[in-house]
């Protein structure tokens, strides 16, 4: 039937560091693939993720993380999304520098996709497209 509007993705970076090369690249790849990228910037808080997801009516939320504190930070964001009825069903993906064991744990928790170092951009784009389609 074709999509009524382009897929909208919230991209933001959590943690206190400033490494934004990864998120800039992913953003460009999504935009090149015809999606709309809502950019939440650096040091996003769980509350901001929830608010932006609702305001911008996004299909997917992507969080970039380079901080060693990821196993505290990501679950907090995930819980905040789960606790709000309006965002509960928005799928979340995570990318950044993280050990494989942490990636597995995040997936078990409910993060739909985890893209660690060395991930393929096209694979990320396709994965996000798949997530967005499955919601419509």
């Amino acid at each position: 039937m074709g999509e009524k509007r382009p897929i909208r993705v919230l991209l933001a970076k959590a943690g206190l560091d400033g490494h934004n090369r990864g998120i800039q690249l992913v953003g460009k790849a999504l935009r090149d693939a015809g999606m709309e990228v809502v950019y939440g910037g650096l040091r996003i808080t769980p509350q901001e993720v929830v608010e932006m997801s609702i305001q911008e009516d996004v299909d997917v939320v992507g969080i970039s993380i380079f901080s060693g504190g990821l196993m505290t930070i990501i679950p907090k964001i995930y819980r905040a999304m789960q606790e709000n009825e309006a965002t509960r069903d928005i799928p979340m993906v995570v990318g950044g520098i993280l050990p494989p064991a942490d990636a597995e744990e995040l997936k078990r928790m409910g993060i739909k996709g985890v893209f660690g170092p060395g991930s393929d951009l096209e694979e990320i784009v396709e994965f996000i497209r798949g997530l967005a389609r499955s919601r419509h």
Binding site: L11, G15, L16, D17, G18, H19, N20, R21, Q24, L25, G27, K28, R31, V37, Y39, G40, G41, L42, R43, S67, G68, G69, L70, M71, T72, I73, I97, L98, P99, P100, A101, G116, P117, G118, L121
Partner: protein
């Protein structure tokens, strides 16, 4: 460098060689690609000859090591006298754990310290602030008060060691100085470097405690203070490293770092300082990425460019002002998660480039840093890499062994030219502060990064294990990954609360009040910062004081650029 008739003979011989030798071979065995480029995109010719450096004047452009324009290095004896300082970035978990790791590395033959701080400390947040939960000690060491510095340096002789502090502004350095004072170590015996370059880190670290211009001024205060009171300390290190990690080209890396150095130099001169008073203590930090010759040439070009800027643009007369001394860190962004042991080999090649480029100090990444902070074993291997280059390879036996290579001299020229052009653009925009505020630097870097990744995608750039020579078991990690026990964070928070409970509140308030007054009046911030630190002010106490006096910087919700 060559006589005209000699060049003519070479040109003629080359044409003949092309026709009779090259052409038949090319017809039968074409080259692997139509065109060859460096990683940053500079064209690379099949073969270089004296024709490529015909315009070079040995004495003017290359000259002797330790002699203007220092293309061949800053010391006349290169590494024959003293090897580069081997210092590995260290910082993990808690001040206690970091102290242990530092001692271990000294025991293993490290010759300098290089301390990195966790994200909260870098941003001047205390370990007990809820915003830091989960990040304390994860990517460096927390250092909230003088107490933490006391623990980090416990049992390490501050007279003996040179310490690199990866932090900006007066805060952590004040703790280091206060500790020296406590131990009775005179400031003129302290050696080390404070990173402190707010400009070239603005994009990557996004320090937003105060505005860019205020941060710039505070970091210049540190330079001014150290020149008067800590004579052997390098109070600032202009950082190309992060710029490169963010995806810039080699020429952009040195141009933006030098652009920042020019900005600070102008600021310090405008304060009435003589360029020859502070320039000998300015230092730099560069990256070494995968393209071996490009990196070597980049370092040689940077040295020559800086010497000329100092002498010709700023009129520096002291030969020590002309020297570009630098630390190199091998490229963290080049490490691959796939087949991570390959990272040891990558790092070796990058470190070798740093050494052949004349680095004065070197950090080599550990193979496991694509995942987490390095384990002790991986860090030791990284240190051994440097020791093998230093003691086994023989490359340190003669100074700048690649000088005179037609290719190396030509590529050095090309990178210098490109960097010079970028510096001219920065000047036209009104300097580095203005260029950053306009977002121009940021856009240029992202554009280069996108270009690099485009080439990676098309296979124009090969990365083993990533877009070529992949293996079935790529995803398996055959190396141990360091885990930071969450208990360390709890311990750090307890220690911080104890310090806070013990301190003399009146003394602390007075010191912070003075810091606020000095900041508002634009007086040098270091003396009052030292007083605050001695009263066990935390980073956040000082952050708040500065923000009350100067206003907060705009929270850097960086833009999406593409």
């Amino acid at each position: 460098m060559f006589k005209d008739d000699h060049l003519e003979a070479i040109a003629q011989a080359r044409r003949e060689w092309e026709l009779t030798v090259l052409k038949p071979v090319m017809e039968r065995w074409p080259e692997r690609k139509e065109e060859f480029h460096t990683q940053s995109g500079l064209p690379v010719k099949r073969v270089y000859t004296p024709e490529d450096i015909a315009g070079k004047d040995y004495l003017r452009d290359i000259s002797f090591p330790g002699y203007y324009p220092f293309t061949r290095g800053v010391f006349p004896t290169g590494y024959r006298g003293r090897l580069w300082t081997r210092r590995l970035i260290t910082g993990l978990a808690t001040p206690e754990e970091t102290n242990k790791r530092l001692k271990y590395l000294i025991e293993q033959g490290q010759t300098g310290l290089n301390i990195i701080f966790d994200n909260p400390t870098t941003n001047l947040f205390d370990s007990d602030n809820p915003i830091c939960e989960g990040e304390v000690g994860r990517d460096g060491v927390p250092c909230c008060t003088l107490r933490d510095m006391e623990v980090i340096m416990e049992g390490i002789d501050m007279r003996e060691v040179s310490t690199s502090i990866i932090h900006s502004g007066p805060f952590i350095l004040s703790m280091y100085l206060a500790l020296a004072e406590k131990r009775g170590v005179p400031f003129d015996q302290l050696r080390g470097t404070l990173q402190n370059d707010v400009l070239s880190q603005y994009y990557t670290v996004n320090m937003s405690v105060v505005s860019l211009r205020d941060g710039f001024r505070l970091s210049a205060d540190v330079v001014e203070y150290c020149r008067k009171h800590v004579p052997r300390w390098n109070p600032i290190s202009f950082v190309g490293y992060q710029i490169r990690e963010a995806g810039s080209t080699a020429a952009q890396e040195i141009a933006f770092a030098l652009g920042s150095a020019i900005g600070y130099t102008e600021e310090l001169i405008s304060r009435g300082m003589d360029v020859d008073d502070f320039a000998p203590r300015l230092s730099f930090m560069f990256n070494c990425h995968n393209d071996f010759f490009e990196e070597i040439c980049k370092l040689r070009a940077a040295r020559r460019l800086w010497a000329r800027i100092m002498k010709e643009r700023f009129g520096a007369k002291n030969p020590l002002s002309w020297l570009l001394r630098f630390h190199v860190q091998t490229a963290g962004s080049s490490l691959t998660a796939q087949q991570p042991i390959n990272n040891v080999i990558r790092t070796t090649i990058q470190a070798l480039a740093a050494v052949l480029g004349g680095a004065n100090s070197l950090h080599t990444n550990s193979m496991d840093e694509c995942y987490a902070l390095p384990s002790e074993y991986a860090a030791r291997t990284a240190l051994r890499t440097q020791q093998i280059i230093a003691y086994e390879s023989g490359v340190a036996n003669t100074v700048d062994p690649l000088a005179g290579s037609y290719f190396v001299e030509k590529l050095t020229d090309e990178i210098e030219e490109e960097a010079h052009e970028i510096i001219r653009k920065i000047d036209d925009m009104g300097g580095m502060v203005a260029a950053l505020e306009a977002g121009w630097v940021q856009r240029e870097i992202v554009r280069a990064s996108n270009e690099y990744h485009r080439k990676l995608k098309t296979g124009e750039i090969t990365v083993v294990g990533v877009n070529a020579f992949t293996a079935e078991d790529d995803e398996e990690v055959p190396i141990e990954i360091l885990r930071i026990d969450p208990e360390h964070e709890a311990h750090q928070v307890r220690m911080l609360r104890e310090v806070k409970a013990r301190r003399d509140e009146r003394k602390l308030r007075e010191a912070l009040e003075r810091m606020k007054e000095d900041a508002a009046a634009h007086r040098n911030i270091v003396p009052s910062c030292m007083e605050a630190v001695k009263a066990y002010a935390t980073l956040e106490d000082m952050r708040n004081a500065l923000q009350e006096a100067l206003g907060a910087g705009k929270e850097s919700k960086d833009a999406f650029i593409c």
